[in-house]
């Protein structure tokens, strides 16, 4: 399609929120990313000692924060600099003490491929830890994705019906655990060869997943590269007092569906280009970059469980194997998470910035799933761990509060009023924390008051669960439930 020259530069929209005097961006910082950044800052993890190669269009060195960085070669005079400038500043927004090597590779409105290859090659031999590539070249999915590989090795289930299809596919995804294994082998391009060499050389390469649905983008699709996207958290009430948060495509622009890490999209921030430096900055604050790979696996597995858990209808024939896929996905996700917080003793459980960002979905959504299945022990293990490593996440506290309330109701039904009162105290405490973290959550506040009042007289407390357990899993005292270890 022909377009006239010019157009509005979306990078300038982001740049307009940068305060050069305060060296920070304005705007809402209430997402899980910024919670994790807050935890990292509390531990003094600001990116010090790390270096990042920022390979992008060009950089506006009139901005003092960028002038203080290492510019490897000058930006060409005719190049638009807003894109590279925003990318570099966003990395510093997350990791203010990281060192940047700035590689301008733009010419006019485009990327100079020769310069791009040269920049990647020089970065490989430099002392940078991470290479940020908010750059991509699109490939039609049909040209790179081999559907036979998606389900390769996964035999069809006996008597499979239409309802089974997404779960059977989910099982294949769970077993493969990387969409990159679905790609047709091919000879790498010059740029790809340079990126692969960087990965082989031990550099962490973080790339934009690309801005076009139904396309894949390179270098994001290369093995060993971390692809980053924006997602939109859509909150809906699906029962009177239960909130469902779904990750949906970002607002306002089209984006590839293939990524490893999805961040909540800030307002008026269009493009996976700008999600990428946020993850790069966060990675720069991590003590061990080697955990990024396991975190990617955990995120992928948890997302698989999450997408499928809403599709379970336990009343229909063969639901057990569908349920099993979700259960295994969440178990694998929790186990893939590198820090194994669920195994730690209470005294060793401390806030963990990276698990707060990358492991919350596995632990919290997995915990909620097991709660609905009346598997109270693994649910408590996962949710309890999440409240420790992600103390700013209201969902961790709220769901753990509900779990304690469920256990209190079971104790009350077993005529253990003392035990019920103790559990209601714990439930009220967690709900109070959730209400503090989410002041807009009336339900958290009401539940906290309900549980606190019930503690005084559990015998007359009329518990109203916020969820319907799957019918096949009758709630019963934890000691008698058919729980198994994570």
């Amino acid at each position: 399609m022909f377009e006239p020259e010019g157009g509005v530069d979306p990078a300038k929209l982001v740049l307009s929120r940068y305060d050069v005097h305060r060296d920070t961006f304005s705007g809402d910082k209430s997402s899980e990313l910024w919670d994790a950044v807050e935890l990292a800052r509390a531990r003094g993890e600001l990116g010090q000692g790390r270096r990042v190669a920022v390979i992008d269009t060009g950089f506006d060195l009139r901005i003092p924060a960028l002038a203080a960085q290492h510019t490897v070669w000058p930006t060409r005079s005719e190049t638009r600099t807003a894109h590279g400038t925003v990318v570099a500043l966003l990395i510093r927004e997350v990791a203010p003490e990281v060192g940047l090597d700035l590689y301008p590779v733009g010419v006019g409105d485009q990327i100079d491929e020769d310069l791009l290859v040269r920049a990647i090659s020089e970065a490989v031999t430099s002392d940078v830890d991470i290479i940020n590539l908010s750059i991509g070249e699109k490939r039609p999915i049909r040209g790179v994705l081999d559907y036979a590989r998606v389900v390769g090795g996964t035999e069809r289930w006996p008597d499979m019906g239409a309802e089974d299809e997404p779960f059977w596919m989910g099982e294949a995804i769970r077993r493969n655990n990387s969409w990159r294994t679905w790609l047709t082998p091919r000879t790498p391009t010059r740029v790809e060869a340079a990126v692969l060499k960087a990965v082989e050389g031990g550099k962490v390469v973080i790339a934009a997943c690309g801005n076009k649905a139904d396309f894949m983008f390179t270098p994001a699709l290369l093995p060993g590269v971390f692809a980053v996207s924006f997602l939109r958290a859509v909150r809906t009430q699906f029962a009177a007092d239960t909130e469902r948060v779904l990750a949906e495509k970002p607002f306002g622009y089209s984006q590839s569906q293939f990524s490893d890490f999805g961040l909540e999209q800030p307002e008026l921030t269009l493009g996976s280009s700008f999600a990428t430096p946020l993850v790069t900055g966060f990675a720069a604050t991590m003590p061990d970059l080697g955990t990024l790979g396991p975190h990617r696996d955990a995120v992928r597995l948890a997302a698989n469980g999450d997408e499928l858990r809403w599709l379970i209808h336990p009343s229909s024939l063969g639901w057990e194997r569908r349920w099993g896929v979700v259960d295994e996905s969440f178990q694998d996700a929790v186990n893939a998470s590198p820090h194994h917080h669920w195994q730690l003793a209470d005294d060793d459980r401390v806030p963990c910035p990276e698990c707060s960002l990358f492991a919350s979905q596995a632990f919290i959504d997995g915990g909620l799933f097991w709660l609905r299945c009346a598997r109270l022990e693994p649910a408590e293990t996962a949710l309890s761990a999440s409240t420790r490593f992600a103390p700013l996440n209201p969902h961790a506290a709220a769901n753990l509060g509900m779990l304690y309330a469920v256990r209190a109701s079971l104790a009350r039904d077993a005529h253990d009023l003392t035990g019920a009162a103790q559990l209601l105290l714990l439930a009220a405490k967690q709900m109070t924390i959730a209400a503090h973290l989410r002041p807009d959550c009336d339900e958290c506040r009401l539940r906290a008051a309900e549980f606190a009042a019930a503690e005084a007289d559990p015998g007359t407390w009329a518990f109203r669960p916020a969820f319907e357990p799957f019918p096949a899993f009758a709630l019963k005292p934890a000691s008698a439930a058919a729980n198994k270890d994570l």
């Binding site: 377009e3 010019g6 157009g7 530069d9 979306p10 485009q110 908010s134 607002f251 306002g252 622009y253």
Partner: protein, 162 residues
């Protein structure tokens, strides 16, 4: 009434921000930026934006367009309903604020949207986006009825407001 797609041209970052902000507050509207075609080879993962494509019911689309027009206080606006028009809604620097030019295949109608007639204009706009009118004359007649005779000028009258 049916669902429609409306392409709204944006000329600067402020217009883009305003239009996206309005879309964010309208959950019944889907909005996606229209980027320039990317070239062969690697690109920075956001291209220049030329327009916003919204999808919505005609009622929601009319409200959205009207809200966007409102946010463009400094100039008048063109609503181009010709099937081959590249953009449906865009600013016209030669048109006074508060005036809207509706372009059809056989000519154009210029209307002045006064604050007191906002609701009537929005209803008329919904009908326009729904393709309810086939000629300048029919639009002019409907506009005169909705907005008053003195607020409407059309090719059909032999004069054009510009």
């Amino acid at each position: 009434m049916s669902d429609v797609q409306v392409r709204i041209r944006v000329d600067n970052e402020a217009e883009l921000a305003e239009a996206l902000g309005i879309a964010e507050r309208a959950p019944e509207v889907t909005a996606e930026v229209v980027e320039g075609e990317t070239t062969e080879g690697p690109d920075a993962q956001i291209a220049p934006i030329f327009a916003i494509l919204i999808g919505a019911s005609v009622i929601a689309a009319a409200k959205f367009v009207n809200d966007v027009v409102h946010s463009w206080r400094d100039k008048g606006v063109v609503v181009d309903l010709r099937p081959d028009a590249p953009d449906t809604v865009y600013k016209d620097p030669d048109l006074r604020a508060g005036w809207v030019v509706v372009v059809l295949a056989d000519g154009k109608v210029t209307v002045e949207v006064k604050p007191a007639r906002e609701d009537a204009w929005e209803r008329l706009l919904a009908e326009l986006l729904d393709g309810a009118f086939e000629s300048v004359k029919s639009v002019a007649d409907a506009a005169k009825k909705a907005l008053g005779d003195d607020a409407v000028k059309s090719d059909d009258d032999g004069e054009t407001q510009a």
